[in-house]
Symmetry: C2
Subunit: 281 residues, 2 copies
Amino acid sequence: MRMKFERLAVVGIGLLGGSVARAARVSGVAAQVVGVDRDPAHRERALALGIVDSASPDLGHAAGSGLVVFCTPVDVIAEQVLALAPSCPEGTLLTDVGSTKAALVHAVEGSLPSGIHFVGSHPLAGSEKGGPDHADARLFVERLTVVTRTGLTDPEALERTMSFWQTLGSRVRVMSPEDHDEALAVTSHLPHLAASALAGILPAELSGLTATGFRDATRLAAGDAQLWAAIFGQNRGALLRALGLLQGRLEEFRAALEAGDSGRILALLAEGKKVREGLSG
Amino acid sequence: MRMKFERLAVVGIGLLGGSVARAARVSGVAAQVVGVDRDPAHRERALALGIVDSASPDLGHAAGSGLVVFCTPVDVIAEQVLALAPSCPEGTLLTDVGSTKAALVHAVEGSLPSGIHFVGSHPLAGSEKGGPDHADARLFVERLTVVTRTGLTDPEALERTMSFWQTLGSRVRVMSPEDHDEALAVTSHLPHLAASALAGILPAELSGLTATGFRDATRLAAGDAQLWAAIFGQNRGALLRALGLLQGRLEEFRAALEAGDSGRILALLAEGKKVREGLSG
């Protein structure tokens, strides 16, 4: 199935929205790309860089596009989808790139006008660098995009959403919103929390004694604090469970260190090494 | 002061020992470089790659070198230094690259023959990749090397050790072994522990849902488990204090999440972001 939209809209022209716009253009999936962003600097840069053909602060500017991709903070996507949907012609496909899925998918599904479909998406791609200047047409290439399915998801809309991400170069995996959120709490939200905690406790006078290890381990902490606070807020339950796993493991390290149990310390380190070596990159 | 040794020995020809050997050769600090390693594969590769001029499993092979750099695990350096020192001619300078300093410096200082000096060193450079194949003559360039000073440290030996690392391209900072260990517990040992914990709790079925964030945050976990178990064992007290800081911060996150206190979550994330952005790289 060859995807083609006469017009595609991105709502939020930051790193992800800008990258969706660029990738859609490069892949030929959209003849025209329009953008919505409240930030005049984002609109100006996106126009100057040729990321979008037109840009507006008004959400209504996205109406009339066959596909609208919401790339705004996770705590505002649902209300934006519900606000835009009544202005959309029948057959409009709505999706997003939010890092949490359950709260927003359930807030939207079942509340849309007939013939307007929303399918949740989460491309596992990004950067601690934000804004349209870092938009990259190849951001999704060979990355994984999770697309969500519930009992209310329209099968054709699901297929079209999957095709869209595949056209942008991404692999696609279908999950329930709840399974997505439980998994990403461990694989994404918890590492962000841990990186932030490690960075946050560094006494200022020790910054000169950090090396690449500290910098790797804390790189995520440079991400946008407001975006991540919203993500944490939308996925509190799963994140608390994931945090419990980490706290439990740190207690195991503490007990082994206090006991001087070098065999146990070695076993814990060996387990982490084995898992890490199973991951590429 | 231009450093020049007729002969330099590295004990342990892994990534660090091999890099010291290569950097010493490239910088012209040593006319001849010899290596000691119990692992025949390390000796063979180091000879094949031209990292050392000769290699032996016997520690005694290092005797007769003006400078001996111990690049073995932190829990064996002190005993090797004490074993080698009686065979060394007067004026021999001994140093190391160990990640912990207090235990080994105090085990060595005051127990050496007259005219043989040991000064502790720790270049803040390395890689999760080990072995002589990854040895890099530029590993120390623009990195920081901590050189330790105690009441027993010979001033001239300290100066010569500092010059050696500077000749290899490193910046040098003098600290007490105790200050070094307290600082590195926070900036190096704790991040390693946290990375290992994060990796270790990843359920196998979720590895496909990790992205660059998880991989950055856990990269350190791929390091040699035995080397790191030895480092943790040598720096238990300071590492437990650093771990307490992290555990306290994670409890703050937990309390904020449980209370749904989005302002507090944002403040914690903003603090981590600010610290991280103050670091380069």
